[in-house]
Symmetry: C2
Subunit: 143 residues, 2 copies
DNA sequence: CTATATTTAATTGCATACAATTGAATTGGA
DNA sequence: TCCAATTCAATTGTATGCAATTAAATATAG
């Protein structure tokens, strides 16, 4: 163990995490292109397909993103007709983001995305479960 | 198992990967701020602390980044005096990126980064090893 | 009840990421 | 040898990420 070993890329855990994340997002691209969605837009749509409505704050908490990222992205989804944006009537600080009929329709088409992505993985099921557990353990630590 | 379950955030492996990557990079920020480096700049410097010289192509292969990301980033590191950029004499298509004396000096200071980051982790050593193995298995698949 | 503190989304500025294109240099085949 | 194909870095355009600030709305302490 040499003095500078800790500074080598191959001895870091963050780098493969960072690289893997981007490589897998690249795998999504051809499938998401068919929906005319970016990966981040797809994440927002996934939350709304499940919850129908969420504030910017809630989207940010769920996706670990802030308003600086979400505001322009949501305006884009709005311009595509997939969502609506409106101030909450009970608390005007909140912006309610709601899925539209058109947004709902995209859900059917989106079903093919996880289907096709699943085929790309070479992980054993136990590895996927292990990976999932470890990643959420790390994420929970920030709570 | 409902029809749309595969479209839920919590059933995806890519999302926690993406979120984890960004959360851990945020943990690096206060330490990297002291070196006046961003995380990506730090990655490039790590390669050069080890290899002294590398072409843009080699940096890109190692870090999974392309010239569109690296070119402006390398110009910034050059303007800080940490690296030099010069066309290779044997093949002018290649750009040789080399560490400077000042870049070498930063290595000492950088030693504290992995030290302090290690303290932030709540993973068991076996979990870290498992995570590392799985991530590199995914990365190798793209080779 | 009111001044202050807090919460929330938007904005600004900077730094990536990356697809697609360009242009220069080199390679390899006819 | 010569030219078509390939390789490589740079450029362009779009889309994030995120820290820091701003401004409006709401909550809270006194």
């Amino acid at each position: 163990m040499e003095k500078y070993d800790a500074l080598k890329i191959e001895n870091q855990i963050c780098f493969p995490l960072y690289a893997c994340s981007r490589e897998i997002i690249k795998q999504y691209k051809p499938f998401l292109d068919e929906l005319d969605l970016t990966y981040t837009q797809y994440l927002v749509m996934m939350v709304l397909w499940e919850k129908k409505v969420a504030t910017v704050k809630e989207l940010g908490t769920t996706l670990y993103l802030d308003s600086g990222t979400l505001t322009p992205l949501l305006k884009k989804l709005e311009s595509k007709g997939l969502i609506t944006r409106a101030r909450s009537k009970t608390d005007e600080r909140n912006l309610d983001v709601a899925i539209t009929e058109q947004g709902e329709e995209l859900k059917e088409q989106a079903l093919s995305v996880p289907e096709q992505i699943a085929k790309c993985s070479n992980l054993e099921p136990e590895e996927a479960v292990m990976l999932y557990k470890i990643l959420y353990k790390i994420l929970k630590q920030g709570t």
